[in-house]
């Protein structure tokens, strides 16, 4: 190694003979321990809060082209466009009367759509109007029923709304291209698949998740769960995987080809999960819950790796993972949008190569020694507010009691009459073709 700072230093060849560098495991263990402790010390995920809304933030949308722009809609019908680098609101629109139920940006980033309680779908320009120009939507579509959600196609000038049915609209027309129904209930959210863009997923309040195909304009399949699903989100890297945020405190990751049981059940929340959004890498997702916390789950793990909360954050209604995979935004009941780091202890800003190498090394060490009890204990330690902590405890007791009861039942019944049901299958009521 030659110092790139001082030219006079010459390369000193290093002897890598293992006999000369003994105790590699204890030394690395110590380093891993220190790295873990430092990670916890530097874990300060909260960056800032964007305040300005005068009612609870009900929905958010990412700008598809600009990392620093984010849109939010509040319960009083106000839409704000934020600049994340300045942490300022750059534009405010009074979009609807009543709630802004859903919003989405067009794939090109020039305009965005909102739906509200006033039964309208409105398309707005992303730029603020010129001086003297009046703030007006580009298009307004007046519907017959309330729309509860909206999502835009990832490539074409097509968007989908949901309410009493799923409507697919051409941007140029004022009546839907097609309406998809299956049963009669209000549909709370609809999402386009980012990879196979003709696919749609929706969740209705009669506890089911329905998949649609836009090409055939037909529903495909329906899964009925134990409780209502609030939102779902498709994995941006894996075309057939989606995750559903459920009222029963859990999230379910499904493979759309095998809907009989979810691939993974993610459980850690202690209240209804209200929103979920995938990281653009497709390896993790973030969920917002009614229990006033935000959790980050690895896709293939059943438990969260991180929980974010602050004293003042109330029920988190909406959450987004930014497109550079570095930050998380959550909008909550108490009118604030909060900006978090996706990696709690990550150092922001430009890293020197040596810093980067050290960071990678520390990460690797933590990974290597993650099973050692002391390291695990430190790495897993999280602070929780009392309410959540107690609820977790309570629920653990409840779960234990339920388990014990089942055990006793099994013990006192004819062998084989009480089959074991896996956790994955437990929450699925039926799959309707």
């Amino acid at each position: 190694w030659v110092s790139n700072v001082c030219v006079t230093l010459t390369a000193v060849p290093r002897n890598y003979d293992p006999a000369l560098h003994p105790f590699e495991v204890p030394r690395e263990y110590t380093r891993a321990l220190n790295a873990t402790k430092l990670e916890r010390v530097f874990a300060k995920p909260f960056l800032s809060s964007l305040d300005g809304h005068r009612d609870g933030v009900n929905c958010m949308a990412k700008h598809p082209k600009s990392l620093s722009t984010v849109l939010s809609g509040a319960c009083d019908g106000e839409v704000k466009i934020w600049n994340l680098t300045k942490r300022q609101c750059i534009h405010t629109i009074q979009a609807h009367e009543g709630f802004v139920r859903g919003m989405c940006a067009r794939f090109c980033g020039t305009s965005f759509f909102t739906v509200g309680d006033d039964k309208t779908v409105k398309q707005w320009k992303m730029e603020s109007p010129e001086y003297g120009e009046e703030e007006e939507p580009i298009h307004t579509i007046l519907g017959k029923t309330v729309y509860t959600g909206i999502d835009h196609h990832w490539k074409e000038a097509v968007f989908a709304t949901c309410g009493h049915q799923v409507d697919i609209w051409d941007e140029q027309r004022t009546s839907p291209m097609c309406s998809l129904t299956w049963g009669f209930d209000s549909i709370s959210s609809v999402k386009f698949n980012p990879i196979e863009t003709y696919l749609l997923g929706s969740c209705a309040s009669d506890r089911n998740i329905v998949l649609y195909d836009m090409r055939k304009s037909t529903p495909l399949k329906k899964v009925i769960l134990n409780m209502r699903t609030n939102t779902l989100c498709w994995n941006p890297m894996e075309a057939f995987i989606f995750t559903a945020a459920n009222e029963d405190y859990n999230l379910y990751t499904f493979d759309m080809r095998f809907l009989e049981s979810p691939v993974t059940v993610h459980m850690d929340h202690v209240s209804a999960v209200l929103d979920v959004d995938y990281s653009p890498t497709g390896k993790e997702f973030v969920s917002a819950s009614f229990d006033k916390s935000v959790r980050i789950f690895p896709v293939d793990k059943g438990h969260s790796r991180e929980v974010y909360h602050t004293k003042r954050m109330q029920h988190v209604i909406t959450v987004k993972w930014t497109s550079d995979s570095k930050y998380i935004l959550c909008g909550s009941d108490e009118m604030n949008i909060r900006l978090w780091k996706a990696n709690a202890s990550e150092k922001l800003g430009v890293l020197a190569p040596r810093e980067k190498a050290a960071m990678n090394y520390n990460q690797k060490l933590k990974e290597k020694f993650q099973y050692h009890p002391q390291i695990r204990r430190i790495a897993q330690h999280r602070h929780l507010p009392k309410s959540i902590f107690c609820q977790i405890k309570e629920q653990r007791i409840m779960r234990e009691a339920r388990r014990r009861k089942e055990l006793n039942r099994r013990k006192h019944s004819k062998p084989g009459s009480m089959p074991f049901v896996s956790e994955r299958k437990k929450h699925i009521v039926a799959v309707v073709k």
């Binding site: 402790k37 037909t218 890498t281 204990r377 430190i378 602070h383």
Partner: protein, 633 residues
């Protein structure tokens, strides 16, 4: 008598066209099946849905491979598709722009008039032409070279023409012979350098020989042969030729490759001829049965034999051979000259081109290296992809929920500083201990359910746990299995002598008790602290081969450790209590095999290999610590 059929009665005496048509209609109606009832609306929709679902899931399933690849990938770099910033040429950008103001128009008018360039390469056509033209010196050199090459070529051509005109058969024969010899020499060389290739070539020749034999060219059936036969009576020459021909035929039969008759040259290219001559007569093949002769006895011998034959066949060829050799040398000289020219020119170009040419030359090996590296990478990556068995479950197979633990330990207190972290480490966690206990209970219950023999099993001590200790890992060897089950001498209260007798009979061969005693003694010995030998020969006295340090010195420097505390099993003759487990160390050690690992050796191996730059080269360190996911904004 006969039965009447109604239709016969109906049928009129003379068939009428109208009725028959009605009948036809009737039969047709009868044959037609009733249309099935249409499916109910619900059913129809369901069928459509099912079909669509099958198709869509099949469509989506096409991504399976990609998804698996991404999941297994050693490293994923986002964004996956790097957008290459394209440089738009100035012409395209400027094309939209037009001169509007009068000043601009005037300027552009002037520029156009003088044929000045407007866009990026700011050169007039003349300039570019002059740039493209060569320098004078270079042109001269080039011309000189060309002249020389042309002269050499004309010489060469003239010479070839002259040679071609030579009618002397002898000359041609000698020429051919020399070529043959050359080919032989080449073959020999080839045989030495690359025996396999030589063998292949031999085989080729064999093939050629077979073809020649099939064609039966050298019999006395051809036109020429017959004319010779007629002439043979009168002409000595012709007779000789006949004889030669027959001899050739014989040679052919003897598995000898014979060149084509000289009277019909040009059919086969000369190279072929020369190569044809190369093979192979077994050493004493002259008189033996040609069919019985197998393969050549040894490729090393043949050239000599061949040469010998050749010498015999062509007497007095020595002088002409020399001539030929001279000519050959000349030819080679010319070729060398040409090559020289090429080299010189190349060198000159390099000099003229300066750094660029050299750069090219330098770049070439670099490029090759790169290619190699790339190929290496390509070679590596699939292996990695295959080898890397990820802890994370792949594909549709689902991660075992049961194995999973809670990733976070959530608490009311906040750990803010390093000290807190350390304090955390020393804390005891009760829940964790509770959980496995509960699990064990469940297991026990399941066992009970499974078999009624479960009662006994439940009393059994909990299954042996392999302890993975940091110490063991450090020492580089596996800790031995600590066996909690103790040998118990079986004593039957009621059994009496009979039972005992049976047992003693059964275990007559092995003395279990003595074995156990021995084992215990061994354990005791192993547990005793060893004296530390600090004796250094040669210090304070003479040292060397055959000299031992004095007893006094040994006595002084052999440190006796303090006696170990009494063993716990001191007074228990039937018990060995292992005291190797260090409770204080155990708190830092992994007690259960973590999930993705299947054997404890695997896990120990993973811990033992260091990843730091202290133990690895820079490159290896970078490779080892490469993050799984890299994101670039």
């Amino acid at each position: 008598g006969e039965k009447l059929v109604l239709s016969e009665l109906l049928r009129p005496i003379r068939p009428k066209s109208t009725l028959s048509s009605v009948k036809k209609e009737l039969t047709r109606v009868k044959q037609k099946k009733a249309v099935e009832l249409p499916l109910s609306k619900e059913e129809a929709k369901r069928v459509v849905r099912e079909a669509a679902y099958v198709r869509t899931s099949k469509d989506v399933g096409k991504w399976q491979q990609v998804v698996l690849q991404n999941r297994r990938a050693e490293q994923l770099v986002f964004p996956l598709k790097q957008e290459i910033a394209t440089v738009v040429p100035l012409e395209q950008v400027a094309s939209a722009w037009k001169a509007r103001t009068p000043l601009e128009q005037e300027i552009f008018g002037l520029l156009h008039k003088t044929q000045q360039p407007i866009t990026d390469p700011l050169l007039t056509p003349e300039e570019t032409a002059s740039l493209q033209a060569m320098s004078l010196e270079e042109a001269r050199q080039r011309r000189a070279e060309l002249q020389k090459a042309r002269v050499v070529q004309s010489y060469y051509e003239a010479k070839a023409r002259r040679e071609k005109k030579i009618k002397s058969k002898k000359y041609h024969r000698v020429l051919k012979k020399s070529k043959r010899r050359k080919a032989l020499k080449e073959f020999e060389l080839l045989h030495k350098s690359d025996p396999e290739a030589a063998l292949a070539r031999l085989e080729e020749l064999e093939q050629l020989r077979m073809q020649e034999r099939m064609s039966l060219k050298h019999q006395n059936k051809g036109k020429w042969a017959r004319s010779r036969a007629i002439m043979a009576k009168y002409d000595l020459e012709a007779r000789k030729a006949m004889q030669e021909q027959l001899a050739k035929n014989k040679e052919l039969m003897q598995k000898v490759r014979v060149e084509l008759p000289e009277e019909e040259p040009g059919d086969v290219p000369e190279e072929d001829l020369t190569s044809v001559t190369v093979p192979t007569i077994p050493a004493g093949a002259s008189g033996a049965n040609p069919w019985m002769l197998g393969k050549p006895s040894g490729p090393a011998e043949e050239p000599e034999v061949q040469e010998g034959l050749g010498d015999v066949a062509v007497p007095g060829a020595a002088e002409s051979k020399e001539e030929m050799e001279e000519e050959e040398e000349e030819v080679s000289e010319e070729e060398a000259l040409l090559q020289d020219f090429a080299q010189k020119r190349h060198a000159r170009q390099q000099r003229a081109g300066g750094p660029e040419g050299q750069g090219e030359e330098l770049a070439a090996p670099g490029g090759a290296d790169e290619m190699e590296a790339v190929s290496e990478l390509r070679g590596d990556s699939p292996i990695h992809a295959v080898c890397a068995e990820e802890p994370a479950s792949l594909g549709t197979e689902q991660p075992p929920q049961a194995q999973e633990e809670i990733l976070l330990s959530e608490q009311l207190g906040r750990a803010r500083t390093m000290e807190d972290g350390e304090a955390l480490a020393s804390e005891e966690r009760v829940e964790e201990q509770e959980k496995p206990a509960a699990a064990r209970a469940e297991e026990r219950v399941r066992q009970q359910e499974e078999g009624r023999a479960g009662d006994r099993r439940a009393k059994k001590p909990p299954a042996k746990k392999k302890i993975i200790s940091l110490q063991a890992v450090l020492a580089g060897k596996c800790q031995e299995v600590q066996c909690p089950s103790l040998p118990v001498v079986v004593e039957e209260e009621e059994g009496g002598v009979d039972q005992r007798g049976v047992i003693t009979e059964a275990f007559a061969g092995d003395d279990v008790v003595a074995d156990f005693r021995r084992e215990k003694r061994k354990a005791e010995q192993a547990g005793k602290p060893q004296p530390v030998n600090l004796v250094l020969p040669g210090w304070g006295e003479w040292g060397g081969t055959g000299l031992k340090p004095s007893a006094k010195k040994i006595k002084r420097f052999l440190l006796k450790p303090p006696p170990a505390p009494p063993r716990k099993d001191q007074h228990l003759p039937h018990v060995i209590v292992s005291e190797q487990r260090n409770i204080h160390a155990a708190a830092h050690q992994v007690s259960e095999l973590p999930f993705p690992f299947e054997r404890h050796q695997q896990f120990e191996q993973s811990i033992r290999t260091p990843v730091g730059p202290t133990w690895n080269t820079q490159r290896a360190f970078q490779k080892l610590t490469a993050p799984r996911v890299v994101t670039r904004a």
